[in-house]
Symmetry: C2
Subunit: 214 residues, 2 copies
Amino acid sequence: MGGIPAVINDIPDIVIGRLPLYLRALSYMAKEAGKVTTSSHELGQRLGISSAQIRKDLSHFGEFGKQGTGYHINYLIEKLREILQLQEEWPVVLVGAGFLGHALAHYQGFEHRGFHISFVFDNDPEKIGIDMNGLVVRDISELSDVIKEKGVQIAIISVPATAAQEIADLLVGAGVHSILSYAPINLKAPKGVHVLYSDPVVQLQRMTYYQGSE
Amino acid sequence: MGGIPAVINDIPDIVIGRLPLYLRALSYMAKEAGKVTTSSHELGQRLGISSAQIRKDLSHFGEFGKQGTGYHINYLIEKLREILQLQEEWPVVLVGAGFLGHALAHYQGFEHRGFHISFVFDNDPEKIGIDMNGLVVRDISELSDVIKEKGVQIAIISVPATAAQEIADLLVGAGVHSILSYAPINLKAPKGVHVLYSDPVVQLQRMTYYQGSE
């Protein structure tokens, strides 16, 4: 399935998975709420995570806060960006120029967060050549060459379920290491390739557990 | 922010968050791989979660497997659906009929997984009245009445960031308890309302941590 191993470098993947949430909440605090410092308690309240968990997660990477004064938000943001290797923008290949591809090409959440959709591909002659938010949709036949030439390592798959495995194979063959897939099927990928899934149902199911409980 | 509290009924939310992943992997095993039984080890390998974690998570809810023979997949699927309250389909309101709204209206991953998009709303006169995969886009002015009349409790927000908070307020005011938002901003919601976010960047950031490490 090409998931992410549960533990690498002695740090559980579940911990790594929370760091982007901390980063997003901290960025919100700094930019929109104008805060300079915060505490694990405040951060935890925003995220529904215990303050003890946050302190434990961060302790894997060093000493970021002080008893009493808490965390300096911009410093912690900088450190988290280092840990997650986000100092420079990663070019991202998007495959699939349908409704979802359009939505992703127009998504404003990529800006200043470490990623930039650099290329879009599709196999539909009616889509090839069209402009999506400044990106020209390229022929899927050019995919491998572009990925190799530009050294792209990250891809987003927004094609129908029936085409997703074939696309994943193409991407991996060309050198992509990380895939975020929106197709509602499980992809096979070799060891060392990370595949994550964006699946609205997984999130909705998490919420129905609580329906009626409060 | 209206997140989900870290612990309810003594079961950490992080555990609840993994149940849909187990359910999806088990459904894949049963339907596509034709398996009848599995083990926490096999399930863990598919998901990048330790077998001990899986056993511990499931033990919160009862005794589902046997030493040596493992889990009967269909039985475990049934139990997880019960725990997550998925025995009947939940009607879902979708707000925003742009590219993403179209993609969601056509998403095939909802089927047989507990959800059905029943209504779509937008405020754009050019979108109101159009058909999206069999759903007619309704005027946002009808949103509150429809939600109240039909008792809808779950909504998906796929509007621009600038409109998301206003829509969230409307939804909550009409009785929605659970919101999945695709807008790249943090929403404020009262206690007891659950808000989860679909944010591709959070997933991409989790993967860049591992870039170059293998």
